[in-house]
Symmetry: C2
Subunit: 223 residues, 2 copies
DNA sequence: CTTGATAGTGAACAAGTGTGCACTGATGTG
DNA sequence: CACATCAGTGCACACTTGTTCACTATCAAG
């Protein structure tokens, strides 16, 4: 699960054979990202110091600047990486959906397993979405908006919603994203070992989604 | 609007006549709280230093300990104060509701005006709800859970929902709280001067609430 | 009027911070 | 093979941080 601190220096020495310079640079860059993510488990990006990150990654503080201009830049990189796993999750959900007829059930299931295997990424996004400063917060906001747009397009492909207006699709997408992010936060908050609590959260998540579907349908037939 | 830095020392000297010792202690304690809130406009509690707060409040760093044992304690105090204005808002909403028949419209309106007049408190709650560390985060979570319970009781008093189960009421309350907090975050994010954007957010908030009402009603008639 | 309590002061401390600079040694290139 | 590139080093600097301690000046109570 890639937990645990691994010094890049030793790592780069051991696997030194047949690795280009670019590859190794990329590797320690990744080591910085991973180190940060590890330290951010129960802290804030703002309260994370450059020196801590480099120490955890196993390089000297000044070497940080070979990869990022500032901690803010590291933050942006973290947003990128985290959003990538979010997108991977959606692809996964699309795949699983086709093999099941209960879209809600299968989607929540993929959400659950993806969150549990990439807790760091999801936790980071949720935390910094509101707590983040300046560029990081802005980046997350932009990405999530984009993400909701994509979901809206996805929704429009369902037979039941083919005739919906763009605005209605968008509202539904926003509601779903918000609801899902809420679920993510609950999952990330809870102790990983407690399967019982997990199942309750999943149950609630399904309920919320069904409620949104019913609500939007009713809303439209009303108008 | 109580913006702006006011040195407590000068304040206490000027109004020194006829003030008990306790009163003055309370006053500088409040000065610390206010100073923190001011500094937290675009930052994190975790990234806020004791020295900054005392400087902004106009006292010497070590005097901080006469009022709080740690920055964490200050955080708890901030949660208390912020939750108090949240509750004040609900009372206000209850009052306005009785004079209007459109509950949703009047509630959103009170939410809006309360958020705009107490931005600091709401912003703090939203930020630290997820970003907060340890006790502060826990305190907010507890308070919000309690808050949702109260709302559930409130909802049960409506004629249409008198027969609902506690669980259904609770789910609806949770949904409303989540939706409202989302709206709060959007309001706090946006530039205060932009009335146009404000109105759009309010419109969306009403829409979301109506959708929840429709959804829950449909959900229940389905079961 | 005296005296004990205490809110606020100011100097000091060790520890941690971001960043500048000259360096080294392996790597890719002409 | 010689040489330039550059990821990573190590020392240095000036600052900021939380907390200690002995202190002062004022208020409340005897």
């Amino acid at each position: 699960m890639s937990r645990g601190k691994v010094d890049v220096r030793t790592l780069n020495v051991v696997t030194a054979e047949q690795t280009t310079r670019q590859e190794r640079k990329q590797r320690t860059r990744q080591a910085l990202v991973d180190a940060a993510l590890r330290l951010l488990t129960d802290r804030n990006l703002a309260s994370l110091s450059l020196r801590e990150v480099t120490k955890e990654a196993g390089i000297v503080p000044t070497a940080f600047y070979r990869h990022f201009a500032s901690m803010d830049d590291l933050g942006i990189a973290l947003v990128d990486e985290s959003m990538r796993t979010l997108r991977r999750m959606v692809r996964e959900a699309r795949k699983n959906r086709s093999s099941s007829e209960d879209v809600i059930r299968s989607s929540v299931q993929t959400l659950y397993s993806q969150v549990r295997t990439n807790e760091d990424h999801f936790r980071f996004l949720m935390r910094e979405r509101y707590a983040g400063t300046g560029r990081v917060r802005a980046a997350i906001a932009t990405e999530l908006r984009l993400f909701a747009s994509e979901l809206a397009v996805d929704l429009g492909r369902f037979d039941e919603m083919r005739a919906w207006s763009a605005e209605d699709l968008r509202m539904m997408a926003d509601l779903i994203v918000t609801a899902m992010l809420g679920t993510v936060m609950e999952l990330v908050d809870v102790d990983t070992a407690d399967r019982e609590a997990d199942m309750e959260i999943i149950r609630q998540a399904r309920k919320r989604l069904r409620l949104i579907v019913i609500g939007v349908a009713g809303w439209r037939s009303e108008a």
